[in-house]
Symmetry: C2
Subunit: 356 residues, 2 copies
DNA sequence: GCGATCAACTGATACGTATTGAGGCGGCAG
DNA sequence: CTGCCGCCTCAATACGTATCAGTTGATCGC
């Protein structure tokens, strides 16, 4: 927070002096005059003075007057750059960046506060205020932070679905419910009679959506609610061969996995089954309710992809609409996912005794 | 540039009112008091009021007072995100981002103006002013823009080497001279007697450095200046089979290629020689004076890599030193490259008639 | 000929903060 | 009682801009 030194930059006052007009007139020439007329001659003189002195508008002063500064903040609740998550987040960034550029906005990355320990309100102040509005991204967002932002009436758009009690917020989220439902119906049609949904432990809305989709699908397909098991995973370490074997012994023939950013659960599952000689999909079908681990020569995971670049673009579009007042209330956008037809699910193995 | 609406955020004045003190005291409590004493009790009350009202400092007002806002700008003269250049620029970004985060700075990407048509001074104002200082990146930078920035005394660090007449600027650049020189000496030692340097057409400093290194190396190795040919390439389209054959007929046995960001020249060269049945390195040795195209199963290009992540970090470090006044004059940093020992150069083919 | 309209401009003000010289107050030496 | 000092707090000001309510002349209608 040191003070800048060095030769000061010319201000509108100096332009005015040189052009023989008032500072107000300079401002009028620079911005739309909004009805106030300025003669062509004056306009010329002002522009000449600007040229001569190399004037550049001071964004801080502008912002202080309450104007927007054409800057969109991008706040990621997890670090964007670690390599393991790079491929997950990069497409979002790409979309955000492209659309921001297209609309003439600069992009402010909040890198100084994006660790878990700090929040939006780190250091006692809302770092986001440096931008006109903000795109928020990340699974481990603090619900308190979101609520505060809503309360402060700070314009933002969340990428992903998130709800906060008593507050309406804008988001762009993938529709997980519909494709999950479809997948469950398909599995039941393939003869599966006992399914397992493996959720992430964080209890966030995307997980709820998957569960909702699963239940709806089960109901539509006539599968008893008791035959849709739900378990939780906190990452790679608690997916063990014993656990998977337990599922199979319990009559589970298909597993629906909710992916995490690094897809540790999915990778672990693939590893564990391979090591234990459990064949996919012969012994057990596996599908990812979202992004799957990278395909290999022999394995394409059945899953669905979210249109991440487009989501980034849509988030920026929405945010700019909020900033411009074109959209005056929070709004939620659901975008469809695309199915990935893989080879990790198949007809259920020969009928087994389903323990009651 | 619309005006923000909605409920206003609390200001220091309101904090002061609630705490029963003056606005000045609030400011003193928030920032270092610089010798001015504030009683512990007052401090408590102010903090309580801040807590109660959810106060957040207004960055614009701060900036207007001439304070820094802990924001580093990143201006790329080419678009960063096209996939073909992604791998080239990404490591720089990585380094810049990491170091900025470490030092508590946010990162402002100037996406709105980074097309060739606009410059730093697009729209009549210096967009960079939104940040405390700036890291500049890209080959096709406008020298005028740089000169203007120096004249304005705007703090910036260029990644890459760039000189401007009569102005000293800070940069972090790879040392191309030394490894180029080494490579030329090595080639001569391998029996090559006529070398070709294929420069990018832009005539930028990195190209000059490569030529300087080549000439120095040739001289040191005792190669006549006339046997170091220099040609220019503007990209992929002017690297043709005829041209390469011409080189060989002219007695050239080794080509030193100055890479571009997308390495179009290099890719074209590989393609053209393959199609024409010209073997590398048997018929002609090829080395890249910088980053080479991606290695394949059979081909590792002899080249040298610049430590791009570290350069990004170093640029931010340097910039912050300039901002903090630790470093008060422009300074230039040269960083060493690392050799990549590939299989694209070898002993010169059997002696040929070298036409005079 | 006189109020009314209009074009062209300006003075004044507010935005929210950091800084500084000055002021209030209690105590203490002379 | 006077003068002084140390401790704490405050009023005032500047930063550069956008905006709005005037203030000029000049033109116009009747």
């Amino acid at each position: 927070m040191r003070k800048r030194v060095g030769p000061r930059r010319p201000t509108q006052v100096e332009i005015a002096r040189r052009a023989g007009v008032s500072q107000a007139t300079v401002s009028l020439v620079l911005n739309g005059t909004d009805g106030v007329p300025v003669s062509e001659q004056t306009r010329q003189r002002v522009h000449q003075a600007i040229e001569d002195l190399g004037y550049a508008v001071n964004p801080a002063a502008r912002a202080l007057r309450g104007m927007t500064v054409k800057t969109i903040g991008l706040y990621t609740f997890e670090s964007v750059f670690p390599v393991d998550q790079r491929d997950f987040y990069y497409p979002f960034l790409l979309g955000v960046e492209e659309e921001a550029a297209r609309l003439g906005y600069d992009l402010l990355l909040f890198t100084s506060a994006n660790t878990a320990r700090d929040g939006v309100y780190a250091r006692g102040h809302n770092a986001l205020l440096k931008a006109d509005g903000c795109v928020l991204l990340g699974r481990h967002i603090s619900r308190d932070d979101l609520a505060n932002l809503v309360r402060e009436d700070f314009p933002f758009v969340f990428i992903g679905r998130r709800t906060v009690d008593g507050a309406e917020l804008s988001y762009v989220a993938p529709d997980y419910v519909a494709p999950t439902r479809g997948l469950v119906e398909e599995l039941v049609a393939l003869g599966h009679r006992r399914l397992l949904l493996l959720r992430q432990i964080d209890g966030a809305e995307p997980g709820e959506d998957r569960e909702l989709g699963s239940r709806t699908g089960a109901q539509a397909a006539g599968l008893p609610a008791a035959d849709l098991l739900v378990e939780f995973s906190s990452g790679a370490e608690d997916v063990t061969a014993e656990r998977v074997s337990g599922w199979i012994r319990a009559g589970v023939t298909a597993v629906l996995v909710e992916p995490s950013e690094d897809n540790a659960t999915g990778v672990a599952l693939a590893e564990v089954t391979r090591a234990a000689g459990i064949r996919i999909p012969d012994d057990i079908s596996v599908a990812f309710l979202g992004s799957a681990p990278a395909p290999t020569a022999t394995r394409i995971w059945t899953s669905f992809e979210l249109p991440r670049v487009e989501m980034g673009r849509a988030a920026v579009d929405l945010l700019v609409k909020l900033l411009d007042g074109v959209q005056d209330r929070p709004i939620q956008l659901l975008v469809p996912c695309t199915d990935v037809r893989g080879n990790s699910i198949s007809r259920a193995p020969r009928a087994q005794v389903t323990p009651r």
